[in-house]
Assembly symmetry: C2
Homo-oligomer: 149 residues x 2
């Protein structure tokens, strides 16, 4: 069982933005941090911006940031947006599809899966924030107001 | 979110065998029914036979059948065998892996997913058995004792 690369990149992106002490991030620095192509990350950013999860500030010193505090971003809402949660098995063209009840079990199991994500917010993914800050190489000057962490 | 083709084929195979009024099935007829290559289906059959889910009878009139009644085959046990239920996201090489708590959420969500499968047996997947029998084209002579359905 696998989640898509799209969800993977979206989760990394959101964790990155939530971990940043403050200020804006560039797609380039996020792509570099995760060794993901800028082109792929750009698509994820545009989609999550369109969906209202993050906002972009234009201009020379522009960049992206979370649209809401991490504690207000439900992982269940995020997962429902990034992941196709139907069709865990491709029944298209299967001879027994009209009488098979496996989709009912799959649907119930998927609902149970997502309900666990519903219990958590993005803030729960950055519980080890000082370690994340160190791993991502954020520094005090990343703060918009220039103050120390 | 997707399950593997392997689980897909294994589920179809098990539903096929559970739906059959009685007697043995050949890999060829199962492959034909689901338009799956015999080579792929052969691998699934060998693996599920090795794992004790089905048994094969050798010889000219040989074939395969379930090793236990469908009502005794747990879908959770079957899924745990056919599906890799760790690493829903590939964290290998990810910069933040040492501090990221997403795997904890994924693990809890996966356990909730499998616990739904644990509630059901293969017999629950053939609740619409007469429709399955018709779709699969089974006839009364498929019964080992030759009696009518």
């Amino acid at each position: 069982m696998r989640l898509t690369k799209y969800t993977d990149y979206a989760m990394r992106l959101m964790i990155y933005l939530a971990s940043r002490p403050s200020g804006l991030s560039s797609i380039r620095e996020i792509s570099d941090a995760f060794s993901v192509s800028q082109n792929h990350m750009m698509k994820v950013v545009q989609d999550l911006a369109n969906a209202g999860f993050l906002e972009s500030v234009r201009g020379r010193n522009g960049g992206i940031r979370l649209a809401q505090p991490a504690s207000e971003i439900s992982l269940g809402v995020l997962l429902r947006h990034t992941e196709e949660l139907t069709d865990l098995i491709d029944c298209e063209g299967c001879l027994i599809a009209p009488a098979c009840t496996l989709p009912i079990v799959l649907s119930e199991a998927t609902a149970a899966f997502v309900s666990v994500f519903d219990k958590y917010t993005l803030a729960d993914l950055i519980g080890r924030r000082s370690a994340l800050v160190a791993l991502l190489g954020f520094k005090a000057e990343d703060r918009a107001d220039g103050s120390a962490l």
